[in-house]
């Protein structure tokens, strides 16, 4: 009986870890911004979804209900344009909006990010309709077997993507001048300025990099799940949960936090299934939210937090 139990578990286990990769990928940008600027960007989820829609546009060429059929680029390939685009948007948001907001009051960045969130959501609705979409590429429906379970191939891509981006960010922060400047500015902004670091510009770059990451996360999200213009909030909450669990500002911690959250979700869903309770898809979101609330209540500094 135990062997069967373990075999049964292997599916959710693997799925949890791989799916956790997607959650980590989404959360990396949020974690970077928080680590550097002590700012939680509540528009993060919506900006990720914006990235998803850029991928959607590249793939289907659909905009305002018209179809530009000469497009038809694989979403991952379209990141070549999507990433610089979101990079620029992120740079502008930090440089012109958030940097001013921080000086106004404690609530101002939150409210401005909220405003940005509304703008992005509405824009996506107008450009690409409110209907549920998916990035249905040729490989989007492939799957492979683990035990008796079928695991979608895209989950594996999610994990790989998260690993690559996490490692890249970590090395960037450690080895490059700009990366070190970002770390320094997050530890002591004043001292960083005395090094000759233009901290205002460094913050803008950090935010821009976070947004470029969001573009990547958006594409992988679209490959994995259906999405609508209002999906952003759910993923903001998930990303927040990830960085709370994994420790704020640490790239590796965020990565692990994603795994943990993914596992919690799939294991929880598995248990629910075994108990015969309904509502698989929606229920899993609910499980995630409850986990986030519990973690917030019990240990807001996270498992790896300082």
């Amino acid at each position: 009986m135990t062997l069967q139990f373990l075999v049964d578990l292997s599916g959710p286990l693997v799925m949890g870890i791989l799916l956790g990769g997607l959650y980590a990928l989404i959360a990396l940008g949020l974690s970077l911004v928080f680590g550097v600027m002590k700012l939680i960007n509540v528009a993060h989820g919506d900006l990720v979804i914006l990235g998803t829609y850029f991928g959607f546009f590249g793939m289907t060429g659909e905009i305002f209900g018209h179809r530009l059929t000469f497009l038809g680029i694989d979403p991952i390939v379209s990141l070549v344009v999507g990433m610089p685009l979101l990079f620029a948007i992120g740079f502008a948001i930090q440089k012109y909006l958030l940097s001013r907001a921080v000086q106004i009051s404690m609530e101002a960045p939150l409210i401005i990010a909220f405003g940005i969130s509304l703008i992005v959501q509405n824009a996506c609705q107008r450009l690409w309709t409110p209907y549920s979409r998916g990035l249905t590429t040729s490989y989007a429906l492939d799957s492979f077997n683990v035990g008796v379970f079928n695991i979608p191939l895209v989950y594996l891509l999610d994990f790989a993507g998260a690993l690559v981006v996490m490692l890249f960010l970590r090395e960037f922060l450690r080895r490059t001048y700009l990366g070190k400047a970002i770390s320094a500015a997050s530890q002591d902004r004043g001292a960083a300025q005395l090094m000759g670091i233009n901290t205002g510009r460094v913050y803008a770059y950090a935010f821009a990099i976070a947004m470029a990451t969001a573009a990547i996360a958006g594409v992988f999200l679209g490959l994995t799940f259906p999405f609508t213009p209002t999906s952003g909030v759910s993923f903001l909450i998930i990303a927040f949960g990830v960085i709370i669990i994994g420790g704020l500002g640490s790239m590796l911690g965020t990565f692990l936090g994603g795994m943990i959250l993914g596992l919690a979700q799939t294991m929880g869903g598995h248990v629910l299934n075994e108990l015969g309770l309904p509502g698989a898809a929606t229920g899993q979101y609910l499980i995630l939210y409850i986990i986030v609330l519990v973690v917030l209540a019990v240990r807001p500094q996270g498992l790896f937090g300082r």
């Binding site: 700012l39 939680i40 907001a101 401005i112 969130s117 509304l118 703008i119 909450i237 979101y285 609330l293």
Partner: protein
Amino acid sequence: MRGIIHRLRGGLIPLIALIVVLAVLPIAGAPRSWLLYLLLFFLYLAMANMWNLLCGYSGLISLCQPAFIGLAGYTLVIWAWHGLPIYLGMALGAIVAALFALLISIPVFRLSGIYFAIGTLVVPEALRYMFLLWRPIGGSIHGGGAGYVLKGASDFSTAGVYWLGLGIAVASALCLRLVLRSRLGLGLAAIRDNDRTAGSSGINVFRLKLYSFVISAIITGLAGAIFYIYQSYVEPNSAFSVRWTMILILAAVMGGMGTEGGPIIGTVIVVFLHFLLARYAGISLIIQGTLLVIIMLLVPEGITGFIRKTRTYRYLLQLATMRAN
């Protein structure tokens, strides 16, 4: 001239006159569309006053208000489903909202600032998913989800709901004023300035914030219940939607947080925007979002803050205080 200024400072008499005028409108034959816009104004004002209490005076950026609104609405609907009187259902809705606020405060109050904001963001979302899955009453529907019609809503005339709305708006303003003039209000002012020093001078920070939170839940819940009497159906996606929060933030920021008059002006603008943007429903969020960003950056104290800085206001204030001497 002096007499007018004196009465402006007096404040109470014109206010009562205004309320009477508003109350009489349905009888005086005002068109239904006016009444409905005013109803929205009353309900939003009640909620905005409460949000002001939380954010402007207690330092709590609560994104949790939709939870109170939706829960009160559902309580009302479930209550009425069993044939019980709607007035009681309203009261029960407010009580449920208050109890829920108490419950939620346990995890959420351990957080502060942005953590608190996101913690409160999770709550209505979780409720939304919960009610999408769970049908508390009625037969099962394909696809699940708890969308219901409010039984007995048709017993209410437009005037009836209108007067309920007026009532809750006035109640919210009174409540705000009472709180601010009480010891609770003093404590909150201290907390708003500095959480920690307030705590070390003996103020039970947690308890005061809890009072604000629960009070806001009660009135917001009542306003929500009245809204659902007007709308006469409830469904999870709109009941717990972030659009409620958006309206409140917009009203508070544009009107000016931390002032008594702020929510009033802000709500006027918000309802006016509703009216204006009805034609541009497709991009109304873009416009409102942009307004929010611009106002927060350029005029963060809102219109009341802005007016206070203008010379006209200061001149009038000078005249009034001279008169008092």
